[in-house]
């Protein structure tokens, strides 16, 4: 598994909001079921001293880290303040920063990620469902009942489409090591390449599914990294029928200036020798040949 395991002590930023509180509970129920550390602290400026589902809340990340030595953070802070929260977490030494928040202006995202990386922190997202290592750790909002532990890594720009694929895998008896939702924004922290590098060093992971979509070329970079590291992969790219210059739900899912359409991505992946599924339901059969 990558980025998180049973030992990962989690901080939640935006702990007292609806989403934050709801997912503190779900993350900790999951942690209990697998004997993991789970969420040990929360942060909401101005609400220090409270508790959310038994988890102590602090005003600042520094205070929370000093007392609880947290290694990962999940951010549910509203878009206007989320980039600041990413930088606050990085500044306090948190190494994995999962940003669930959607609609953060891209200039804020670029700055926050650049700062976090300069601190040696990995940002997952923004606009992502986080990650889940079955049997180890739920670091985000993925619906854990669909998951099963096993040798397949999944990296995806999507949320529900990932659950769809995970559901298909689990029904086919194929378990997952870690499923990472890297986010649907044009600028994201950890890309396919970063996750591929981590998976290639992970002894649990035998093969990886890349789930991409229209916009940019990060899938191609990821596939190149996998090939150079001898990590077996299969891919699926959503949006073959997406029109040009239209944002397809995700801020990053847009074919701009004639670049980033699904057909040309699929063509490039195939030219590199990567198997690309036409439909999500084909993925279990394709990945099972690589295990």
């Amino acid at each position: 598994m990558i980025y998180c395991d049973k030992q990962t002590r989690i901080l939640v930023q935006g702990a007292t909001g609806n989403q934050g509180a709801f997912h503190i509970d779900l993350m900790n129920r999951y942690a209990q079921s697998v004997s993991g550390a789970g969420v040990v602290a929360g942060v909401t400026p101005g609400k220090g001293g409270r508790e959310v589902h038994g988890v102590p809340v602090y005003d600042t990340v520094r205070e929370a880290v000093a007392i609880h030595d947290t290694e990962a953070s999940v951010i549910f802070v509203p878009a206007g303040a989320a980039a600041d929260s990413i930088m606050e977490a990085a500044d306090a030494g948190i190494k994995t920063i999962v940003t669930i928040t959607e609609h953060i202006p891209v200039h804020d995202v670029m700055r926050a990620i650049a700062y976090a990386r300069s601190c040696g922190s990995a940002v997952i997202g923004p606009n992502c469902p986080g990650l889940l290592s079955p049997g180890e750790c739920r670091l985000g909002i993925m619906p854990s009942p669909l998951f099963m532990r096993g040798p397949v890594g999944v990296i995806s720009r999507s949320g529900t489409l990932t659950y769809e694929v995970v559901d298909e895998l689990t029904r086919a008896g194929i378990g997952q090591s870690t499923v990472v939702g890297i986010g649907g924004d044009p600028v994201i922290g950890e890309t396919f390449v970063d996750c591929i590098r981590r998976f290639s060093e992970d002894s649990y992971t035998k093969a990886v599914i890349l789930i991409g979509e229209v916009g940019g070329a990060l899938e191609i970079d990821g596939a190149e990294a996998a090939l150079s590291l001898d990590l077996p992969i299969v891919a699926y790219i959503a949006g073959v029928s997406a029109p040009k210059e239209k944002r397809m739900g995700h801020a990053g899912a847009i074919i701009e200036g004639g670049e980033g359409d699904a057909a040309s991505k699929i063509e490039r992946l195939k030219a590199m020798g990567v198997t690309v599924a036409t439909r999500p339901s084909e993925l279990p059969a394709y990945i099972s040949t690589l295990l």
């Binding site: 990620i113 650049a114 909002i141 044009p186 739900g249």
Partner: protein, 362 residues
Amino acid sequence: MKLLEYEAKKVFSTYKIPIPASTLITSVGEAADACKKIGGSVVLKAQVDVGGRGKAGGILMATADDAETVANDLFTRKIKDLTVKEVLVEERLSIQKEYFVSIAIDRSSRSPVILFAEAGGVEIEATAGERPDAVRSARVSPLFDEVPGFILRYLTRGCEKEIIPVISALYRAFREKDALLAEINPLVITPSGVIAADAKLIIDDNALARQGITENRDLTEREAEAEAHGFSYVELNGSIGVIGNGAGLTMATLDLIAHHKGAAANFLDVGGGAGSERVMYAVRLVASVPDVKVIIVNLLGGITRCDEVARGIIAAGVSQQVIVRLAGTNEAEGRALLEGAGYRMLDTMEAAVAAAVLEASS
């Protein structure tokens, strides 16, 4: 959101980027006066958001004598299906040399990238092929507020010094206006100095509010209505209405429809955790599209609860057939509700899509 040329130029001029003398007109009658005010020969440019505007007939030359005739011609034309409502009347520049400068966001390096070329207009690609050295690019760390001098010198080496402040200013506009793209093509050298002959500026939709923009003009009426409900919506031109949760799953649904040789009427992502009321609005919105014969609802419940979705579909009560695929949280309750109300619920998205395509073609 894309700004029109005159709006982008107005922004650029506040950053002290020189722009041509110009007047914006909205009727033929204003053309002659505008032309006289500027003096000499002018260029009339249709303010429409299309690529290849010049080739499509959206840019015409005129003098004071024929300004009205030319303006009439332009106002009555359609430029790639768009009617011309505003025309920018500009001084005709005496161009000695053309450059290209563009600032965009590079996803791979997660940073702004400046592209500069020693050629402008439509010849950039040819130049890039013939003289790769004449096209230069540089990333700027998002931690810098300004473009560092070494980058400016690298980009503009061997070129007129007066270009440097223009690139610096364009970068400041790019950052402060939350732009996804800030471009001048061509940036021209004239006897009176450097001038931005054209201008492009695209503002990040996630930053419109803090930029004081209340209405996103890039959206159609129905798309704007959908956005007000918190949906992501894109109009297409088929007959199968599509509702999903999550951008990826909804896109995959469209692709499966195409795979089965059907045609989707729209893309509607209801987002995460949609309750019955939101689902009801979504179904009604899609049903209101005239061409929609059948609607497919494909939702995977995580934080979204299937029973809530079922209630929403039933409450919408639309005349078209609604084919449903629901999986995940409270799936059994959702199924019982839907089947009790006579709706078709299928187990997989493939089966649901196949049924919808069949229904649409019957």
